[in-house]
Subunit: 337 residues, 4 copies
């Protein structure tokens, strides 16, 4: 274990020393993430993500947000809605599931904390019992199935009829109408929860794209309505609009929360644009080793030309229900909002 | 560490003993999976999966196959095509990416082994260089971008024109036409690779559903073609057909390889059917702890009514590029094909 | 999708609604974790962990801390040292690696940020080059090998000689002597970094246990010294001491950061104690699905009698370099330190 | 999406095409892994691992096997014992847990399949009930606690007394004596299970190292015995022996199953040897992104000089209870055993 390396080897070694993070009572979230920057592994990745996302919140950057499936049931709805309301999202790509659960909350429905809070532990028998009780489980979140009935009524009364006369409509047009309806119903006195993501997007003219809308209860309802009406969804229509947003962006940034279709749709938009993302941050729990798109590094996306060669990018491999609020709180503090 | 439990406690303990797996040169794959059944953890899960999938291959079971994104670049194309040709798939739900890569191989394009075979290690600089060389990376698989040009020509010459006259078409109709074109082009003498998944489905009248088709290069090409033609894709049209298949199934089984939209679309089909899956096997690398649908247990799906309360189900948490061939080889041996 | 469940079903449904987390610039870390409590999945688990750990910091709870391997290179050294200095650790179980890296920093050595900050991407060629340059890599942290030479000199001059005369010594006695030596050398004017974990433990009479000490550079050095001296380490001697601490605890709590030997040694101590842990929190990135101890749920530990049946426990499945600082900052704020 | 790359770019592209794996009923395990070699992601990694491990089984290679914790409860006991009996292991590094569970089986105790076979789902209530019934859970494996009493008797009657007179003994000496005792007791007519790993190692003069032996029930028993006897374990003594094996190896290979201390101890042995591993294969479910040693790539180990710069190495990120039997069966077939 002797070291034969000479000083001249050392001269070529120009790396910053690791500091040692310090935490104290009452520190702000940004102060915590500054401490992360002293460390390594995921801590340094999160610090880098805060640094990049703060730059992305600059007015000159056009921001795409990819939001995967269970974020609304997990309580991330208001953070997304507030980002939209504050002008920090220029295009949202999400799932039909998130829009379904967002709407259920908008119309007075409720998700609930399941019995199991901290451990991954619900057995077959438990799920059989939930089935008997009419309760759907999303990991440790429970949703009484009756709210899907309320959701169906809302869609059939407030959302689909207006679209029927427009013939074939884009999916973005459906999400816009959903946002309008959620805004209006949320003004009823008996509904106290905020109107949510679709409503915020509607009010602030932010388009929501949902490529796999048919893969959700929202999509199932749309299909059932289409069976007895002229209502029809055009699968390709939105791509002109989202491509134009990418095309016109001076600088473009992508915040990708979770993987799946939202991640890929955000990234692939740059395949038909002369430029690519200048900034990209992803928060994911999927490891790259599976080879799937969800966990793929952002460097891989660079080989495809989805990121500029000179882009700043960071991937944080940790539970997004923890890192997403942390990132947003820290970046907001950085830019002084 | 004394044990105060009496014999009467023990009488209520009726579990099978763990055996100890034995392996030897020349054993068949099915013999290996039989040994797995002696063990615990993932080995026992895989054995259970083989047991269930063997039952699913019975003639009376209608089989849905969900196939997530990188399976074709990872070399799983022929296994899927052979399952279709042998009558073991009644409906395939997959991604636009898989159909894109399947078609690239069908028309003579090639994916390649990247430099890095066994480790997860490709640095930013490496991806920058691949970008310069015009090579797209999918983990450890390389795809020269020129094949996307060949793909575009194929679509514009052989696939889209025939659909143009049909007005708004379903996504399944697009995949069917793709299968026909892939079958025909693959008969050219200079193309030696098999015609693949879409072709097998076309030839054997197996429908392919692809809810998020716009989230792929196939989708981008479809959109570009639609800009200058009457070609149009109906997002909702397929749901009648897939629901009918579920409705008419005496017994239904789901094999889910990877997560994402294919997994959910296969499972959610049962939400609008009086019955649910009697058998379900998933091969995934996503852990349930993320709370996302991709890693969710099949027991969770039972709470939603996507699986029958009495269904047999197994989840194998391991790399699907390893477990999928293993499962299929073992199940084929079991049923004596 | 009709819902046939009646109100009487609903009456039995007594779960708290999910709230929707809200974040804002300038919020404190504890305020952030309070918002996590509104959500589900990992966010709720982390909130529960803060809740439990705050109770554990009460004076009446005897706290065991398990600290796995790469936490010191990742910059978590000061947080651990501060917890010790503030009386929040009654017994520390860690690895020889952490003590090695802690000591390297104490004597003026430095870990460094590697080239790769946010992505997991260092190729074989890169590691070959680091080998040539005499730099060891720990994920994205670099350590020049020359510091192992300094470390060796420190051990041979300041640590081992004093122990030699004591005959066979316990591992805890070695770590104590290491702490004394680190304290003293750190007073030299040219060393500015804090004396660290072993030093804090020495100064505050907190025992450090390191069951697999031979599995580290510290252990290799101890072995080489033992070759030419009477120095000898007793593998079993510490167990009396740690068992006594567990035995005498009115209430016992375990904070487990990472898995491996530190986790198991902390937990197994209760197998020879009439009582078990009343509180337990683990921060891990290992999923339970591997079946290994590192990712095993704390509920599993309950079946063994390592946790009281009535214990409060939470497992957070996310990168511990992110969650450990977050947990400590929030809990410190809760108890008003 | 045009491709401007010319033929001259292409000339520098010299990668092998991905083939498409084919599976059929009755194929052997080696034939299956040959098909993996056509694919990418984990399949290609496993194929590479088979290729390397087959070379390692050559007579001229000195083989180290690292075996982490839950492999014996998971049913991998006989595969390890058979490798030892067939001369394919020159040094085994494992955990006290594996030796404990190996011995429990050797003396007639039994692990059992838990209720939950395929899903990760055992709730807190379930573990509370197991506690009441005196059953310990290891993921989906159950172990009645009464077998620990039998284990204690075996150790106190057959293992510890002989060692007592030897004064301070190495841990390897303890495992050797355990092997002898397991061999002898297993000859009793009422015990039908094979004598197992420790016995095979004893009979074939293969040393077993267990650096963290105190971190197990075996270690707890050793400690309790040491309280009332002269029995004493020397923590450092084994390192001379294992280092000598490494030193004398013409060529050295490491097969690492799982992470933790066994992995690191196998690898670090080369830090005090002039040479390093020529071959290394690891089977792990821990991703590198955690920064811990358990999931670290073998390339990282190269930077430390634990692997030769020119070494062949492969990491398979998938459940080792699946990949370990697969690897061994395929490699045995390759070498014609």
């Amino acid at each position: 274990m002797t070291d034969e390396h000479t000083d001249s080897d050392r001269e070529t070694f120009a790396h910053d020393p690791i500091g040692h993070a310090e935490v104290r009572a009452g520190m702000t979230v940004e102060e915590l993430t500054a401490e992360y920057g002293d460390g390594g592994i995921g801590a340094s990745a999160l610090h880098e993500a805060v640094d990049i996302y703060s730059e992305m919140l600059d007015d000159d950057v056009t921001n795409f947000l990819g939001l995967a499936g269970a974020m609304v049931p997990a309580g991330m709805r208001r953070i997304v809605a507030d980002l939209i309301r504050d002008g920090h999202v220029d295009a949202l790509v999400t799932t039909g599931a998130n829009l379904t659960h967002d709407t259920i909350e908008a119309i007075g429905g409720k998700h609930h904390h399941g019995d199991v809070v901290a451990e991954d532990t619900t057995p077959r028998e438990h799920d059989e019992q939930l089935r008997d009780e009419g309760v759907d489980r999303i990991y440790n979140v429970y949703l009484p199935q009756e709210f899907f009935t309320t959701f169906e009524k809302h869609l059939r009364a407030e959302v689909f009829p207006d679209l029927e006369d427009e013939g074939s409509v884009s999916i973005q047009r459906l999400t816009e109408e959903l946002g309008r309806a959620n805004t209006e119903v949320n003004e009823r006195e008996d509904i106290k929860e905020g109107p949510g993501i679709a409503a915020a997007a509607y009010e602030h003219d932010v388009p929501i794209y949902c490529p796999a809308v048919q893969d959700s209860v929202l999509g199932l309802q749309a299909w059932m309505y289409s069976q007895t009406s002229e209502f029809m969804l055009d699968a390709l229509a939105d791509m002109t609009q989202i491509t134009d947003i990418a095309y016109e962006a001076e600088q473009a940034g992508a915040l990708v929360v979770g993987g799946g279709v939202p991640k890929n749709f955000v990234l692939q938009t740059m395949l038909v644009s002369p430029d690519a993302y200048d900034y990209a941050v992803q928060l994911t729990m999927d490891p790259p080793q599976t080879g799937g798109l969800s966990g793929a590094t952002l460097d891989e996306a660079r080989s495809w030309g989805k990121l500029e060669k000179a882009a700043r990018n960071a991937s944080v491999y940790a539970d997004a229900t923890i890192t997403f609020p942390l990132l947003v709180a820290a970046a907001r503090e950085r830019i002084g909002e």
